[in-house]
Amino acid sequence: MKSILSALAITAAATLVLAGCSAGAPAATEIKVAYQKFGPSQQLDHHMKAVKEAYEAKHKGVTVKLVPIEAQQNDYFTKLALMNRASATAPDVMYEDTFMIKSDAEAGYLAPLDSYVAKWADWKQFPDNAKQAGAGDDGKIYGVSMGTDTRALWYNKEILAKVGLPVPWAPKTWQDVLDAAKTVKAKAPGVIPINVYSGKPQGEAAVMQGFEMLLYGTQDKLYKADTKKWTVGSKGITDSLQFVKDVYQGELGPKPEQALDTTVGNTVSNEWLPQGKLAISLDGSWVSGTWLPTGGTPWPQWKDVMGVAPMPTQNGEKPGMTSMSGGWTLAVGAKSAHKSAAWDFVALALDKDNSQKFDIMSSQIAVRKDVSNDKAYLASNPTVGFFSKLVANTHFRPATTDYPKVANEIMVAMESVMTGQQTPKQAASTYDGAVVGIVGKKNTSK
C-alpha cells in the first residue's frame, strides 16, 4: 500500500515539474493576431483570414495564429487587456479601438511604431487626423488606422411613407425626430419606432452612438479640449438624458429589456431593419456592411428600402447636423517577441488593396487617400458619399486616458433613466459626482 502511495506521489510531482517545462518557447516563429469577431466586425474575420494566407505565402517560416474573440465591445476590451497582462498570452498584433489607444499605450500594452512607419512608403497616404487617431499621449504612433466611421439616422422608407411622413425624411430638430417616432407608433402598430443604443450591456457603443450623438448636438460638450476640463452640471447632459428617457419611457424605442440585451446591436442590423420591424435607427455608417453579399445577413433590397438622414442638432442650431467619428486600428503588442514580423503583418493588412477590400466589405469610410479616391470604392456602396460628407461636421471622442472611465459613468446614467430608476436630473448629478471622482474637481468646469 505504502509503495503504491509513494509511487503516486512521485508521479504527481513529476507531472507538475514536466508540465512546467513543456510551456517553453515554440520552435518556429508564430505571431498571434487578436481581433473581435462579433456583429458588424464579422467581416473582419474574412479579412484576417485572407491576410494570414497572403502573409504566410510571403514570409516562409512564420505562422500567423488568428485569435478571434467573440465578445461584445466592452468584453472584447477586457479579454484583450487580460491577454496583454502576461507576455505568454499577449498578442503580437491586435485590433484596437482608437479611443482605447491612449489608455492602453499608457498601460504599456502597445509598442510604438514610429521607427516602422518612418520607413513605410504607404504612410504618406494617411492624412494627419488619421495619423493622430493612432497616437498616444506621448505623441508616439501606436496604431495604424483601418478606416473611420460617422453616425446618422437610418430609416425605413417604406414604413415612413406608409405612415404619411415625407420621404426623403430630413428632421431639423430633436422634436422632429420624436414626432416622427410618435407618428410611427400611432399608425404602424407592431413596428418599433426608433432605436437609440443605451445602457451598460452595449458598452461604449451606447455612449457614442446614443448619448454623444445627442450631446454634441446641444450647446454643451463632454470635454473642453482647450481648457482640458470635463463638463459637469450642464443642461446639454440633462437634455440628452431626457431624450433617452422620452424614447424608452415614452415607449418609442425597443422595450428596455430588449435594449438591455447584449446582442441588440446584432438584432437591429440582422433582424429588425431587414424584416421591417424597426422604422428609425440612430446608427453607424458601417451598418450596411451586414447587408452586402459578404456580410452576415445579405439583403440586396436594402439600397431601395433604407434611407439615411443626418442627426439634427437639438433645436436646429447651426450647422444643423451632428455626427461622431471613431474607428479602429491595428496595433503591435509591447510584449511581442517578434515585433518586426508583427509590423509586417500590419503593413500588409493595411496596404492599398487590403485596406480597400476591408473598407468596402465592412462599409468603412476610407482614410487612405488612394482608397478614398478610388472609383471602385466610391461605387461600392450608395451611402459612401453621404457618410463621407458628414465628416465635415463630425466630432471625436475626448482624446484623454480618462475617457473610457467617464464613458462607463455615462452608460450607468443612461441605463438609470431608460429604466426609470432615476430622473434625467438625478442621473446627471450622479454622473457629475462620478466624473469629479475620476478626474478630480479641478479638472471639471460648468
Binding site: T78, A81, L260, T401, K405, E415, S416, Q421
Partner: protein
C-alpha cells in the same frame, strides 16, 4: 469536518496515557506529517495565494488599462472609503442579503427539509420520481441550469406560455421582478443539496426514539420539533453554512438571467465586483468588493458555528 474529529480522537487517546510520549515525539510527528506537505503546498499556492494577493490588490489602484495597469500603486483604504461612499454599495449588500436569506436560508433549507420529510413518509415510487427531478437541477452545470432558468423566465419563456394557457398575461419576470426570478432559480437549483443532506440525517434518527415519542402521544408536528430537529441540528448547522457560502458566491446564475440589471436592481456583490473589475477595468476596486464578500461569509460562518454549536450528546 473529518480532520477535526480525527484530531480530537487523537488527543483523547494520548490523554488516556496508554503510551507515555517518547522523547523523540516531536521529530516523529514531524516525520509523520510529511505526507501532508504536498497537500498543504497545493492549498497554499492555489487557495491561500489568491486570497492574499486579492487582499493586497484591494489596497491598490490596480487596473486593466491606463497607467495603473503598468504598475499599481498602494492607495491604502482608498478603495474601501470610496466603496462605502458609493450609493450602489449598500443597495448591493442589501440585495445580497435578501438573495441569501430568501433563496438559501429559507428557500433551500426549508424546502429541502420538507422534501426530505415527505420522502421519508411518502410513497416510495413518488419519492424516487420527485428525488430524481429535484436532483436533476443540481446535477446540471451552473451555466446550463442558468440557461434553462432563462428559457423558463424570459418574456416569451415557458412560464409565460403556461400562464397564457390559463388566460393570464405574465410580466417579463427578468425585467420587472428580477430578484424574484433569481431567487426562485437559485431555490430550484440548490434545494437538492439540502434535501440530500437532510434525507441522510433523518435516516439516522433511530426508529425507537421516534416510536417511543409516538407512544407518548406526540403528533407529527411535535415529533418534528422535539425529536427530529434537535437530533439533526448538526446537519442543519453544516447545511446552513454550506448553502450560505455557496449562495453568497452565486454569479453565473444571476449574470445569465439578468446581468445584474435592470440598472442595478439585481446586482449582488459578486456581480458588482465583476462589473467594477472587468467591465470598468478597476481591478483594485473590484477586489475590495470581493474582500467584503469574504468578510460577510466569515461572519455568517461564525454565527452558525456559535449558534448551533454541536454539543456532545
Amino acid at each position: 469536518m473529518t480532520s477535526l474529529t480525527t484530531t480530537a480522537a487523537g488527543r483523547d487517546a494520548r490523554g488516556r496515557g496508554a503510551h507515555p510520549p517518547r522523547p523523540r515525539g516531536v521529530g516523529r510527528s514531524l516525520v509523520r506529517s510529511l505526507p501532508l506537505v504536498p497537500a498543504i503546498i497545493l492549498l497554499a499556492v492555489f487557495l491561500l495565494g489568491p486570497v492574499i494577493s486579492s487582499f493586497y490588490g484591494s489596497f491598490t489602484d490596480s487596473s486593466l488599462t491606463g497607467s495603473a495597469a503598468k504598475g499599481a500603486s498602494f492607495v491604502g483604504f482608498g478603495n474601501y472609503l470610496e466603496l462605502f461612499a458609493d450609493k450602489d454599495f449598500p443597495k448591493s449588500v442589501l440585495l445580497t442579503l435578501v438573495f441569501l436569506f430568501a433563496s438559501a436560508i429559507v428557500g433551500q433549507n426549508v424546502l429541502g427539509l420538507g422534501l426530505a420529510l415527505l420522502m421519508k413518509s411518502g410513497n416510495r415510487v413518488v419519492g424516487a420520481i420527485v428525488g430524481t427531478l429535484v436532483v436533476t437541477a443540481w446535477v446540471l452545470p451552473e451555466i446550463v441550469a442558468a440557461f434553462a432558468a432563462y428559457a423558463f423566465f424570459n418574456a416569451t419563456g415557458t412560464l409565460n406560455t403556461l400562464l397564457a394557457v390559463v388566460g393570464l398575461d405574465g410580466p417579463n419576470w427578468l425585467y420587472r421582478l428580477p430578484m424574484i426570478a433569481v431567487i426562485l432559480a437559485n431555490i430550484w437549483r440548490g434545494t437538492a443539496f439540502s434535501m440530500l443532506v437532510y434525507s441522510a440525517a433523518i435516516d439516522d434518527v433511530p426508529d425507537d426514539v421516534r416510536e417511543s415519542a409516538e407512544i407518548d402521544g406526540a403528533g407529527g408536528a411535535k415529533r418534528l420539533v422535539y425529536i427530529t430537529i434537535p437530533m439533526i441540528r448538526r446537519s442543519i448547522s453544516t447545511n446552513l453554512m454550506l448553502t450560505t457560502l455557496q449562495t453568497l458566491s452565486v454569479f453565473t446564475l444571476i449574470f445569465v438571467l439578468t446581468g445584474g440589471g435592470p440598472g442595478t436592481d439585481s446586482s449582488t456583490l459578486p456581480i458588482l465586483a465583476y462589473q467594477e473589475a472587468f467591465k470598468f477595468s478597476r481591478l483594485g476596486f473590484g477586489t475590495a468588493i470581493a474582500t467584503i464578500m469574504l468578510v460577510v461569509g466569515a461572519l455568517f460562518s461564525i454565527v452558525y458555528i456559535r449558534a448551533l454549536k454541536p454539543e456532545v450528546d
